[in-house]
Amino acid sequence: MSDDIDPNGENMLAAEYVLGLLNADEAAAFETLMATDASARADYARWAEDFVGMTDDIAPVAPPAALLDRIRAAAFGTAAMEEAAPAPKPVKPAKSSWMERLGLLPAAAGGLVAAMVALWAINLYVGPLLDPPATATVMLASADEGLVVEVGYVEDSGNLEVTRTAGAAPEGQVLELWVIKGENPPVSLGVLPADETGTLVVAEALWPLLRGAQCAISIEPPGGSPTGAPTGEIVAVAPIVWVG
């Protein structure tokens, strides 16, 4: 059988990823691959299942009783809940929220499900090793999915990577990206580039806003909202989903 062995072993990336042997760039590339490639995800899962067998002979050891209290405090504590909130449960805006005042409903775009599954699939790879920075994604889509914008962000980088995968601003107008934290008014993150992909630079003072918040896109006159608040139609709203 050894004659069949591919000398380059290029299909061993999934195994190397599970073992933690890839460097940070290679691991990130493999995660990107998994986001779009079901067979890469299947390879990952198969190796993870196989390698975990190496822990079968590890004897269980009861942790000290006091540890459970510490863990409860860390998991359920106020700070922890705040941090945990954005990813798991999309919250229906309270009656008086600005979104309801604008007549918006929480958007649940069906065609986005596949993309979201791919993104969430990355999360469950339990993250790369080497303690990478946290990353965030936002999938913004209009109700009819005529406009779809994906935003990617690496914690503390200040650079929002924006990709418009469907639709565009109406003729003579622009799309403006906003961040909304809780009941606070929207804060502009900038006008989306005319190109399909581009980078918006976020001022450092705004970085903390990106945790536990939502993004929205509004249609604005050229140059962006003249008032500092959305003036045109809000066409998409979505939570910022953090990994790590």
Binding site: M12, A15, I58, L130, D131
Partner: protein, 180 residues
């Protein structure tokens, strides 16, 4: 006896914010996961910290479990193991001292006392036995001790630029055996 289905139901409960499900999962799995932490980190205080990180992460990410395609114990152990490996690497990065880890010997097989239905995972053990001892050892060191290609090259006296080919071939053999 806690079954795979029970563990899965607990994770589903946790995804919905059910703290009782968390308590049940902790009762059912914390000893196994703590054992993994102790094995990987070989340090009790660090193992406790790692177990805490693991359960906090499991609680927060329970809603992501379903889409990952892993069986529940594999997911729990993988989360825990990865956090431990991160700690080992952080430890090396700060101290620059790898002897502590390199000196670790594989622990002797202990009793598998956990009352959780196991899959046929043990086949990895049989397939690893079919590899050269050095190569099986390298796979084990990477998985259980977080060793990098650089470290494995040093341990096995293989040049860094060939260690990857060396190990990939073994992984390929392993995959052939596991697929049979």
């Amino acid at each position: 006896m806690t079954t795979t289905e029970d563990i899965e139901a607990m994770i589903t409960g946790m995804a919905g914010g059910d703290r009782n499900a968390f308590e049940n999962l902790y009762a059912a799995t914390s000893a196994k996961l703590f054992g993994v932490c102790l094995r990987v980190l070989n340090n009790r205080a660090e193992a406790e910290d790692a177990l805490q990180d693991a359960f906090v992460k499991i609680w927060r990410n329970a809603d992501r479990y379903k889409v990952n395609g892993l069986s529940p114990m594999t997911w729990l152990i993988t989360v825990t193991r990865n956090l431990c490996i991160d700690r080992i690497r952080a430890r090396k990065a700060t101290s620059g001292d790898m002897d502590e880890v390199a000196a670790l010997e594989d622990s002797a097989p202990g009793p598998e006392a956990l009352a959780i239905a196991a899959s046929d995972r043990a086949r990895i053990v049989g397939c690893m036995a079919g590899l050269d001892p050095d190569k099986a050892g390298a796979v084990r060191r990477a998985y259980l001790e977080g060793e990098t290609y650089q470290e494995l090259a040093e341990v096995y006296g293989v040049p860094l630029n060939t260690i990857r080919t060396w190990l990939r071939r073994s992984l390929q053999k392993l995959r052939e055996c596991l697929s049979q």
